[in-house]
């Protein structure tokens, strides 16, 4: 039941997506704030240094997009027409960038107020949802934190990246390492209890010892820290850093060293009470959280799960990111933000146009509908491939029955099971408890496992082998 695509100036808008076909109402939202002080050389997110003061008009447009999203997000037939009357509920919101904390507090107040007028945030307010804003240490002020807290923000993710000035320079980050602890304290003072820190390792020239020291300093920075994201520096295509590396300006970290750093991270954070629940994400066990005042949010996944409740639910994991990793649903606002809805036959993925001016013009011209690019319509095979790719990366893993039920109609159930068994034989995957989870040794090979599982879905992969076997017999 595809509705007529809404198109303005020949561009496809997200409102052309049949949002009513979503299996359940969409209850997550990602908001992208593209502004930065400085464009970091390793970063491939859409962001830029705004030379003109366009923050105000940007927020106006963003609010228009919220309005349009709210009209469509409620589900049911009214969703496609954009005629929903009740404010749709959101369980998780994530504001990323760019540098969201660069937005002026008065604009933040308008943005947060508008969100609250258009969406039902009661789950978040009740402490069963999650509302995260990304912050750079140097931009955090008491005023900003108070504004965020008053607007319902209950979680900050602080981009520390490194505590070593030398490595910060390599990354082209220009904050003072001392500001990290200050920023976290300001958030805590404002009543934002859920705090996460981002770190980067495998920076060119970094030693294992230096990384270990970064980790220690991160843990010392905030007693109440409940979450850490530790990423190996990734050379994304088309970033200046990647170009310099390819040109031979510097050597990327050795594969062995990078692996050692990762293993150290897992060990060190485990000692500090943090459990790995995704390849690069760690959450502090509740019993290790002081008074245990933190309460885990409700089930926000749209994905049918079978079997026991995954351990991740007892951890202060990032609920919003877990929606991504479980291939759940979320709406998108702001330039370059991507969205996903789950339908019977798979799901729609799309991305708002990654250009501020184009996005603002598109939103203004159509009453809140951003032009979109990279729309991928539902495809059961693709959806399962994505589920495998994302699912192996989280500790809860994949439910074997769900995988079989979804592979069966594709004629790939047998091949998929064989591929999983093959990875189990290599010692990378555990098939225990009817769930497919990476083994301790398997975490470093998540991509290899994913690509082998995904390959089992390729058309003809299963039938091809059968034909080969029969010709041997014949």
């Amino acid at each position: 039941m595809q509705t007529t695509p809404i198109s303005v100036d020949g561009q496809q808008k997200w409102a052309s997506l049949p949002l009513s076909t979503a299996r359940t109402p969409v209850r997550s939202l990602y908001v992208h704030i593209p502004f930065c002080f400085h464009k970091c050389h390793y970063c491939d997110f859409y962001s830029f240094v705004d030379s003109r003061d366009r923050q105000g008009v940007f927020v106006d447009r963003l609010i228009e997009e919220f309005s349009a999203l709210a009209r469509h997000a409620g589900g049911g037939a009214a969703a496609d027409a954009g005629e929903a009357d009740a404010a749709p509920a959101l369980d998780t919101i994530f504001v990323g960038g760019g540098t969201p904390s660069l937005l002026r507090p008065d604009l933040w107040a308008r943005l947060l107020g508008a969100l609250r007028e258009r969406f039902d945030l009661s789950t978040i307010d009740a402490g069963r949802g999650e509302f995260t804003v990304e912050c750079n240490p140097e931009t955090v002020t008491a005023e900003l934190m108070a504004t965020l807290a008053a607007g319902g923000v209950d979680r900050v993710s602080v981009g520390a990246q490194s505590f070593d000035q030398r490595h910060l320079v390599t990354l082209e980050r220009h904050h003072d390492p001392e500001n990290v602890a200050r920023a976290l304290a300001l958030a805590n003072d404002a009543g934002i209890r859920r705090r996460s820190l981002d770190l980067i390792y495998a920076i060119p020239g970094q030693t294992l010892k230096e990384w270990a020291s970064d980790l220690d300093r991160a843990l010392e920075a905030d007693d109440g820290l409940e979450h850490m994201s530790c990423y190996a520096l990734t050379y994304e295509p088309n970033t200046p850093m990647t170009k310099r590396m390819r040109r031979g300006d510097f050597e990327p970290a050795d594969e062995g060293l990078e692996s050692d750093m990762y293993e150290h991270t897992v060990r060190r954070l485990r000692e500090a009470g943090f459990e790995r629940y995704e390849v690069s994400n760690f959450a502090k066990k509740r019993e290790a959280m002081g008074n245990g005042q933190w309460a885990m949010g409700g089930e926000s996944s749209d994905v049918t799960t079978h079997g026991p409740l995954p351990t991740a639910h007892r951890l202060p994991v990032s609920l919003h990111n877990l929606v991504y990793w479980r291939c759940g649903q979320w709406l998108a606002a702001g330039p370059s933000a991507s969205g996903h809805i789950v339908t019977e036959g798979g799901g729609h993925r799309w991305k708002n146009v990654p250009h501020l001016t184009e996005w603002m013009q598109g939103v203004a011209a159509s009453g809140g509908y951003s032009p979109i690019i990279d729309h991928e319509p539902p495809d059961a095979r693709r959806a399962l491939a994505e589920r495998l790719m994302m699912g192996v990366r989280i500790a809860e893993g994949l439910c074997e029955r769900e995988m079989q039920e979804r592979a069966e109609p594709l004629g790939a159930a047998e091949a998929l099971q064989r591929a999983a068994a093959g990875q189990a034989e290599l010692g990378r995957l555990s098939l225990a408890d009817a769930r497919w989870r990476l083994t301790d040794a398997g975490w470093l090979f998540a991509d290899g496992v994913a690509s082998e599982l995904m390959a089992a879905l390729a058309p003809g992969e299963s039938t091809g082998r059968v034909a080969g076997d029969s010709s041997v017999r014949g």
């Binding site: 390849v279 790719m389 470093l444 090979f445």
Partner: protein
């Protein structure tokens, strides 16, 4: 009507095909509008590679001094691999036009082809081509022709196939200087098969030159060599469009169609006679094509190491058999390798021929191939006195059972600029070459004559020669015999298991160096695995070199969020795709490049 049968011979790229086209145009066989570049090459692959693979015979009419001539000309391949095809074409002629590029001068193949023509008692008309180019040096080139081939410089015709300059003079020379075909010497029909081609719609097309008697439609013909008979259903000539005729008389060339199913059913060089009134003696025959280079083709798929003859193998078999209908000059037989499963051992006329066959199999047969490194054939003198021929180092018997290994030796002519002689001589020396002589060509260039083991030149010798002479060096070779040398087989073991397809036969003195170089290359070509991989080179169980590929430590992307899904999915799909052209040996995945690493001489 007078008949002239002739070939055009030249070094590659000296403008042979363009000259052929220009001749057709000048005799009005094709209109200017029809004239397209290199009319006589009709395969895509030929056009892409700019080389002529198939010989074609074309007949045109031309009036010279009021007299009508039938000109039959036979286009010949220009690459060294196809020199046997050149010789077949030459036997059907009385004369040849020798084309030399006026900007390049006499090259190695010019010399080789000219000698071949003289051996066949052909009259030569030297043509200095491309005189329209600013860099043309026709007088010097004419002097080179006189110096090295003994053809008077003043006999050279200066021409430009591109502008048409000199073409009339050339046509006149063809009519005046070339001898007419000899008359029938017996009354029975004898026609020589000098080429064949396979056409999807018409079956086998046989190119013939009638020497005695006559062929008519409806004749029951007999192939004197193979002894099979067919009824002629069509006779014709390419003008250059196929034009049917009722009869082909003595001295004429043309084509013949007779419901022949496969190229393998016709032997090039065979003599056709009439079944009802056969000749008693065949015409002096051609030589069979000689395969010089051998390699294995396996269907590429990482799953096929299991050893079964899977669907992939059947698809390859179909493709190989189909291509063999078109090109009977490559040989094939089923092989089974412990490490690589089922495949084909194929023989080729040369390396270019091998590349062409591989490309056509993939393009026309739709199969992906993993190819092992090419080798030559060796003669093994067994202790029993028997001589056994092997085309695969893996087939070398245990040293206790043989006396010596003999390898094919070629006589090589290399023409190089004077200042490069030192480099080229050291290259030949490093490749176990034996210096024979040196010949003056001009002020600036010399010809070197060497004897070299074929195994030392099949892979990169030509490239090396080209690069050390900045493209000016040219070479041509012919097989001169088999010599014994101190050769040993070096086995390559991957995690302790020998991989036959990586075995090499090398000189004892360079065995360590070659073995080590090979392992270093393998280490670079084989991706890291979950486990450590030991690479060893061994002679008869004694390890002479070893290398280790460390185990892979990680294969994981650090970051994966909502907006990354599509891109990451494509990356992971590619990661798997990249493993396709591989062969598993045990649980080690070996890419195509690794098999070719065998050829790296390390110099």
């Amino acid at each position: 009507m007078q008949i002239r049968n002739f070939s055009i011979i030249a070094h590659i790229d000296h403008g042979k095909s363009t000259l052929a086209d220009r001749l057709l145009q000048s005799t009005h066989a094709v209109t200017d509008r029809e004239a397209r570049e290199q009319l006589l090459d009709d395969m895509d692959l030929e056009r892409e590679r700019g080389i002529t693979i198939k010989a074609s015979a074309v007949t045109v009419r031309h009036v010279h001094n009021g007299e009508e001539f039938m000109l039959n000309f036979i286009d010949t391949p220009g690459h060294v691999d196809f020199s046997y095809e050149v010789s077949r074409a030459l036997t059907a002629c009385e004369g040849a036009v020798l084309v030399v590029d006026s900007t390049q001068g006499v090259e190695a193949q010019t010399v080789a082809n000219a000698y071949l023509a003289v051996e066949n008692n052909l009259e030569l008309i030297p043509v200095v081509n491309k005189i329209d180019l600013p860099a043309a040096n026709p007088d010097d080139v004419a002097m080179e022709i006189e110096q090295i081939l003994g053809l008077p410089a003043e006999d050279c015709i200066y021409a430009s196939a591109k502008t048409g300059q000199g073409i009339d003079k050339l046509l006149a020379a063809i009519c005046e200087k070339l001898p007419p075909p000899r008359d029938s010497i017996i009354s029975e029909t004898r026609a020589l098969v000098f080429d064949t081609e396979y056409n999807d719609y018409r079956g086998v097309v046989v190119y013939v030159r009638v020497f005695d008697g006559r062929l008519n439609i409806g004749d029951r013909i007999r192939m004197m060599g193979v002894g099979r008979t067919y009824v002629v259903t069509e006779l014709g000539k390419y003008t250059p469009k196929p034009t049917k005729v009722q009869t082909l008389g003595a001295g004429e060339t043309g084509y013949l169609i007779a419901a022949i199913k496969a190229l393998a059913d016709v032997r090039v060089g065979d003599t056709i006679t009439l079944d009802i009134e056969p000749a008693s003696e065949p015409l002096p025959g051609y030589e069979e094509p000689k395969q010089m280079v051998f390699c294995d083709f396996y269907p590429s798929s990482s799953a096929a190491g299991s050893g079964g003859k899977g669907a992939d193998f059947e698809q390859l078999r179909e493709a190989v058999e189909k291509l063999n209908l078109n090109d009977a000059s490559f040989t094939f037989q089923t092989v089974h390798s412990e490490a690589l499963g089922f495949g084909f051992r194929c023989g080729f006329l040369g390396l270019l021929h091998m590349d062409i066959v591989q490309e056509r199999l993939e393009r026309e047969g739709g199969v992906e191939i993993v190819q092992t490194a090419p080798t030559v054939n060796y003669q093994i003198l067994m202790t029993t006195g028997e001589i056994r021929e092997i085309t695969n180092p893996a087939d070398l018997p245990d040293p206790n059972y043989y006396e010596e290994i003999r390898e094919p030796i070629v006589k090589m002519e290399i023409i190089v600029p004077k200042e490069c002689i030192g480099d080229v001589m050291s290259l030949c020396g490093a490749r176990r070459g034996v210096y024979k002589s040196q010949q003056y060509i001009s002020e600036t260039r010399q010809m070197l004559i060497y004897e070299l083991p074929l195994a030392e030149i099949i892979y990169d010798f030509h490239d090396k020669l080209k690069s050390m002479t900045r493209g000016y060096g040219t070479m041509d070779y012919e097989l001169s015999g088999y010599h014994k040398d101190r050769l040993v087989k070096v086995d390559i073991l991957i995690n302790g298991a020998p991989v036959e397809a990586l075995s090499i036969i090398v000189h004892r003195d360079s065995a360590e160096q070659r073995g080590r170089a090979l392992l270093v290359r393998l280490r670079k070509e084989i991706d890291r695995h979950q486990f450590e991989i030991a690479l060893q080179a061994a002679i008869g169980g004694k390890v002479i070199a070893r290398e280790t590929i460390k185990s892979m430590r990680k294969n994981v992307t650090a970051k994966c969020y909502g907006g990354d899904v599509t891109r990451k999915r494509k990356l992971l799909e590619k990661q798997k795709e990249g493993k396709k052209r591989m062969k598993s040996v045990g649980n080690v995945e070996i890419p195509q490049e690794a098999f070719m690493a065998v050829l790296d001489q390390g110099d």
